[in-house]
Each structure stands twice: as structure tokens, then as C-alpha cells.
């Protein structure tokens, strides 16, 4: 019941995000062939950029004349950031909206447990994130067809997708936990979007100067840095562990808080 209702309520924004993200990916990949042709001049142009900027965007480790390198720098930055923003917005609202708009009194008077409410809403978040990633995967595969002479290694591409999903789930789980604790959706949204953006810039800043390199450990965006994934064809196990732990702890917390809290509107 709740799943169906929530899915329906959120489908409009899922469609909009899917269209926007899908078209951005297609658009970006469609200009790669011309981009690769002019690569020599581009390389020169890149060399003229300040070193810190090159580092910040990972251009020192990836060759953007290469399809995978181009994908990592240009496309992957979009899917990870936009997907994280979408996940944070979706999960921030889903539980607290009922309290914020006082419809929770209706829902709680029905014969369901609090855990059922949390489970069905959590499920909506997971399904929507998987659908969005499905769309971006399909858009990428279509986009790769614009380039005929370069192969996309399936295993690397799969790793990148998995890493993006893990990242989105991490932010979603954090926002979902906040949604179980706090009541005002506006505040939850600000906090969880803040976390996404701050960690995103922490990752970029950490590349600029060695003095603040430690910042990278606090940024999930660093965990899914495309350069090592593409170059080594692997995700650092520690990073997977940290993200999995954040996801699990946040979800368990959400259940514990929501089952025991007083809900009076």
C-alpha cells in the first residue's frame, strides 16, 4: 500500500531527473568523437592550466583523449554529483513529510507497524535510485555508440556504476536517518544537501594542496574517484567497507529511532 502510494507520488521527479541526467550523458558523450580529434590541441590547452586545477579534476591521472578517461572526467562527475543530490532530496522527504504535513496521524491509525512504514518507504528510495542509475547506465551505453573505434571495458564500466550506486545509497541512507529523527522537511533537506555539496568540494579541494589532502578521507566522492577505478580496475576495499558501514548504520538507526519515537503532530 504505502510503497505503491509513495512510488506514485515520487514518479514525476524520478522521470524529470532521469530525462535530465540521461540527456546530459548523451550530449556529453556525443561530442567525444570531435573532442578526440582535436585532442592534440586540447592536451596543449590542458597543459596551460594551473597544475592545481588539473589535479583537482583528476586530469593528471586520466587521459581524456581516451573514451574511458573522458567518461571518468566528464560524465562520471555528473552522474555521481547529480545522482547524490537526487538521492538526498528523495530520502530527506520520504519519512518526515508525513509528520511535517501531519498526515502521519492518518497513517499511524491504520493497522500497520512503524517498521512496515519505514521498510516500504526505504524500499521506494532504493528502487528509485536503482532506476535512475539504470537510466544513466543505458544512456551511457547508447552514448558509447557514437565512438566506433574505442572499446569500453565491461568490467571497468560495471565497477564505475556499482561505485556510483554505493555513493548514492550512502547519501540516501544518511538523509533517510535524518528523516526519521527530524520533523521539518526543510531543515532535513538543507542538512543533507549540505552534506553532499560540502563533501563534494572537500574532495576537489583535497586535490589542490597537499596540506589539506587529509580532507579526502571525509568525502565519499573520493571513495568513488574514477581515476583509480579506471587505471587499476578496482575499488579500494576500505572505501567499500566505509560506505557499506555508513549505509547499514544509518538504516538501523532510522528503524530504531522511528519505532520508539513519540509522534504527535
Amino acid at each position: 500500500m504505502i510503497f505503491k502510494r509513495e512510488f506514485k507520488r515520487n514518479i514525476k521527479s524520478l522521470i524529470i531527473w532521469s530525462i535530465v541526467l540521461g540527456s546530459l550523458i548523451l550530449l556529453t558523450l556525443s561530442i567525444f568523437p570531435q573532442f578526440a580529434e582535436q585532442q592534440k590541441e586540447m592536451t596543449k590547452l590542458l597543459e596551460s592550466l594551473p597544475e592545481s586545477m588539473i589535479k583537482a579534476f583528476g586530469l593528471d591521472q586520466l587521459n581524456i583523449g581516451d573514451l574511458m578517461g573522458y567518461y571518468g572526467v566528464r560524465v562520471y562527475a555528473m552522474t555521481t554529483l547529480l545522482g547524490s543530490i537526487y538521492s538526498a532530496i528523495l530520502a530527506s522527504n520520504i519519512l518526515a513529510k508525513e509528520e511535517n504535513e501531519k498526515t502521519i496521524e492518518f497513517l499511524l491509525s491504520k493497522p500497520i507497524t512503524r517498521s512496515q512504514i519505514v521498510t516500504e518507504k526505504l524500499f521506494v528510495v532504493l528502487v528509485n535510485i536503482f532506476i535512475l542509475n539504470g537510466v544513466s547506465t543505458i544512456a551511457s551505453i547508447i552514448g558509447f555508440q557514437f565512438t566506433k573505434d574505442q572499446e569500453v571495458p565491461t568490467d571497468t564500466f560495471t565497477l564505475l556504476i556499482v561505485a556510483a550506486i554505493l555513493l548514492h545509497l550512502t547519501f540516501a541512507a544518511l538523509a533517510f536517518m535524518l528523516s526519521s529523527i527530524m520533523k521539518k522537511t526543510r531543515n532535513i533537506l538543507s542538512v543533507s544537501l549540505g552534506v553532499v555539496l560540502v563533501t563534494y568540494f572537500m574532495n576537489i579541494l583535497s586535490g589542490i594542496s597537499e596540506d589539506i589532502e587529509f580532507l579526502k578521507y571525509f568525502s565519499p566522492f573520493k571513495y568513488v574517484d574514477p581515476a583509480p577505478i579506471i587505471n587499476d580496475n578496482a575499488i579500494e576495499p576500505l572505501y567499500i567497507f566505509v560506505m557499506a558501514a555508513v549505509i547499514l548504520i544509518s538504516i538501523v538507526m532510522a528503524y530504531m529511532v522511528y519505532r520508539k519515537k513519540d509522534i504527535a503532530v
Partner: protein, 291 residues
Amino acid sequence: MKIVDIKNLTKTYNKNRGIINLTFSIEEGEIFGFIGPNGAGKSTTIRTLLNFIYPTSGSATVFGKDIVKDSKEIRQNVGYLPSEIHYYDDMRVIDLLKYSAGFYKKFNPNRMKELAERLDLDLHKKIEDLSFGNRKKVGIVQALLHGPKLLILDEPTSGLDPLMQNTFFELLLEERKKGTTIFFSSHILSEVQKLCDRVAIIKEGELVKVETIENLTKKNLKYITITFEQTEPMDLKLDGIVKKEVNGNEMTLLYSGDMKALLNQLNALPVKDLLIQEPTLEEVFMHYYEK
């Protein structure tokens, strides 16, 4: 069988006064009034019974089941009408009612149409376009639709016009005939008086008294108006005068003492007219409250 059984129930939370040590029970098939001014703890009691909030101490059962452990089973057979209705604005009335019905084992579309018709409710309107009173009607249908064994109504008549109130009371009496128990919270005494068998009075979170309506209105208190022949101040010295007001040659009394003693005193006085009436519940209520 006790449908609701509350034992030493206490709930305190942050700013609210909450409820302190409530103990009372509601029998099967009863219409039980729950009255007190706003903020006395009526809604807190109801929310605790439905496990929206957890009790601080004490316990309660509904249908013999624990309100915390067996809350889901309890709610299968409870219809709840909140004092303020908040529904999903993007839904039409019929969507909301179907969504609500989907949570229960039984759904009867004919019953939904019948209830909507009697309450003069348009099923195809959007909820955000409804007035306060019409929202209340959606709430009433929503509470009755699944044929609950216990109806919990929190300030149910607010927003309903008098005609609709009558229809609503008729519906409640029909439900009672089917064996439904009704827990009726209100701060309007006349409607409780009209409908209920027994009433619990709550004040500042504490139970003042549980009485049958009959006892409350008939047993002790009389509302007495005496008109004297002259306007000189007269005085009555009697045990049991709760309230006395003198207005010219007219004296009104709220009297709970012995009737014979009153008549004996009046016998010696120049009484022109005497009127003895049942007090309204408001007056009875004030009497309990002023203590």
C-alpha cells in the same frame, strides 16, 4: 467485557502537561464521553491508546490487548477520527478512502457511497479544495468505513453544521446498535449529554470523576430559581448550596443538599414563585471544576 481498560496511565513529554495516573475503563457497546477543556489531556490519552506516543508509566489494554505490544492488531478494529484532519492534498476524496480501506481486511464500496451520500460528501473532489467541515466528513467516512468495533472520536463535531451533526449522531447511534463501542472526546458538554451513557471528566491531566450522565445531571444537583415578593435581601442558610446569585427579588441556587430542608426554610419566607430544574451539564461540570 472491557473494551478499553486504562490503569495508572501516565504520559509526560516536553512542553505538554500530558496525563497523570489515569484509570478508567469502557464497557462493550457503551458510548463513553471524555470531557475536559482544551489542553486537559484528552488528545494525549487518545494518542497513547493508539500508540502514536509511548506511555511514561502505567498500562492500558484495548480489546484485552496491550496498547504498545499489540497496537497493530488493535488498530485493525479501531476507527479513529482526529480532531484536526490532515490528508494528502494531491488525492481526491475517493482516492483517500480507497487508500485507507486498503489497509484493512474488509472494504465495501457500497458502504462508502452510502456514507458519502448521507453526509452529502462529493467523492470526486480534490482534498485540497475541501472546506474544514467537508474534510471532517471525509474523516468520518474514513473512520466508519471498515466497520470498526471501537470508534475513537476526538472533538468530532467541530466544523460540522447542526444539521450535519444530527446526521452524524444518527450514524453513531446506528453503529452502537451494531455493537460498536464509542469513545467520544469533547469539550462541548451538551453533545456529550445528548449521546453518552457515561462520562469521564479530565482536568489538567488528571481524572476528576467517572459518572453516568444520569447521575451527573439528576442525582444531586438542582438548579433552583426563587422569586420573592419583595426586594429586601433574603438569606438562606443551608448545607449544600453550591452557588448562589441574587438579582433583585430573584435568587438562583445550585443546590445539592436535602430537598426537605430547603422546602422547610422556604416555607417561612415570602416566596412568590419557585422553579426547580435539572442543571445543565455545564453547571455540573463547573461545580466539579471549581473544587
